[in-house]
């Protein structure tokens, strides 16, 4: 098997005498000509590969952003359960002749607090809650940066139903 530095020759890295010797050899050697053809072909493929990797990583980043935003909306919708105000009948102490309707005590929702959610455990949340979703629990292994979270706020309509989630 011929043992010439064909890559260096192709790249113009050889001095005049050596380069000329290889050029003359290639003219008469089909195997070396074929090897030169392969080197050129794989070099072109490597250039294409590098460009693809640079583009791929950009498109995957955009997919990741869109995908996690959509996932957060779905998770928030599944985990949020509307909680009607609790009412507790209160018996009023009145003279027997007067009967009043029991007065209902309304339990106001708990103050807004930050809650860390786990995708596999449904947790009831009070209205107006801020949600923090760990991306590692939503995406395939290695797809999310370690410790990355999505923080958002559930926006309720006038009826107390979830209307939207606003990601921060």
């Amino acid at each position: 098997m011929c043992d010439f530095p064909l890559v260096a020759w192709l790249d113009g890295e050889l001095e005049g005498g050596e380069a000329e010797e290889i050029r003359a050899h290639i003219e008469g050697c089909a195997k070396c000509r074929e090897q030169v053809r392969r080197i050129r072909s794989v070099s072109a493929t490597i250039t294409e590969y590098s460009a693809e990797r640079a583009r791929l990583r950009r498109s995957r980043t955009m997919w990741w952003i869109a995908g996690t935003a959509a996932a957060a909306v779905i998770v928030a919708a599944l985990l949020w359960t509307p909680r009607a105000p609790k009412t507790v009948p209160v018996a009023a102490v009145r003279p027997a002749a007067v009967v009043e309707k029991p007065r209902a005590a309304v339990i106001t929702p708990a103050p807004v607090r930050k809650v860390r959610l786990h995708a596999t455990r449904p947790v009831q949340q009070p209205a107006g809650v801020r949600v923090v979703v760990s991306l590692e629990s939503l995406l395939p292994v290695g797809a999310a940066p370690p410790g990355a979270v999505l923080v958002g706020e559930l926006i309720l309509d006038a009826a107390g139903q979830p209307a939207a989630i606003r990601l921060e």
């Binding site: 890295e13 490597i46 250039t47």
Partner: protein, 175 residues
């Protein structure tokens, strides 16, 4: 692929503005860093860092003789630090051919493109680290003496490693 030398000319006349150099070499650096296993956001971080350091280098009258090699050497070293500091990401497959398909590509052409990229990706990551670095730096147009400077090896070693690597890749990719 050759990198234009007009930006080098700007630097060598005493202009310390690294801006034109950034415009010329930003994309080749991103390609090199992405192909060597970094995510795009990491590659962009490193590119910014490289050009900030270049700016400092020029302001302090650093050596301007081979700025291309200097730039890639800084990028290479930062990438090595980043990789050794975090998880290895060697095995991420390449599946982009369909996303980047030309509207003129028929399904058979697409299949072969995707298959060729996948085989090349596997073959590149089966090379030794030195061989892979030589191949990727050569792909960005660096001369052997520049590759040698980036990697801290001799030009004869660069030549030997490239011969072996490209022959292996040619066989494995069946080109």
């Amino acid at each position: 692929m050759a990198i234009e030398s007009s930006a080098i000319a700007i630097v060598q006349t005493g202009n310390t503005d690294a801006g034109p150099l950034f415009d010329q070499w930003r994309q080749p650096l991103i390609r090199y860093l992405a192909a060597s296993g970094l995510r795009r956001d990491e590659a962009l971080d490193i590119v910014q860092d490289v050009f900030l350091r270049l700016h400092q280098h020029l302001l302090s009258n650093g050596d301007r003789e081979n700025l291309r090699a200097w730039i890639f050497q800084v990028a290479h070293n930062l990438a090595v630090n980043r990789r050794t500091g975090g998880a290895q990401r060697l095995s991420e497959p390449i599946e982009s051919a369909a996303q980047e398909a030309s509207p003129l590509d028929d399904p058979e052409t697409l299949f072969f493109k995707k298959d060729r990229m996948r085989r090349l990706h596997t073959a590149i990551w089966e090379l030794s680290a030195i061989q892979r670095e030589c191949v990727l730096l050569r792909s960005e147009g660096l001369r052997y003496r520049e590759i040698a400077a980036v990697l801290g090896i001799g030009t004869t070693t660069v030549s030997d490693q490239l011969e072996r690597a490209l022959r292996k890749l040619g066989e494995k990719c069946n080109v």
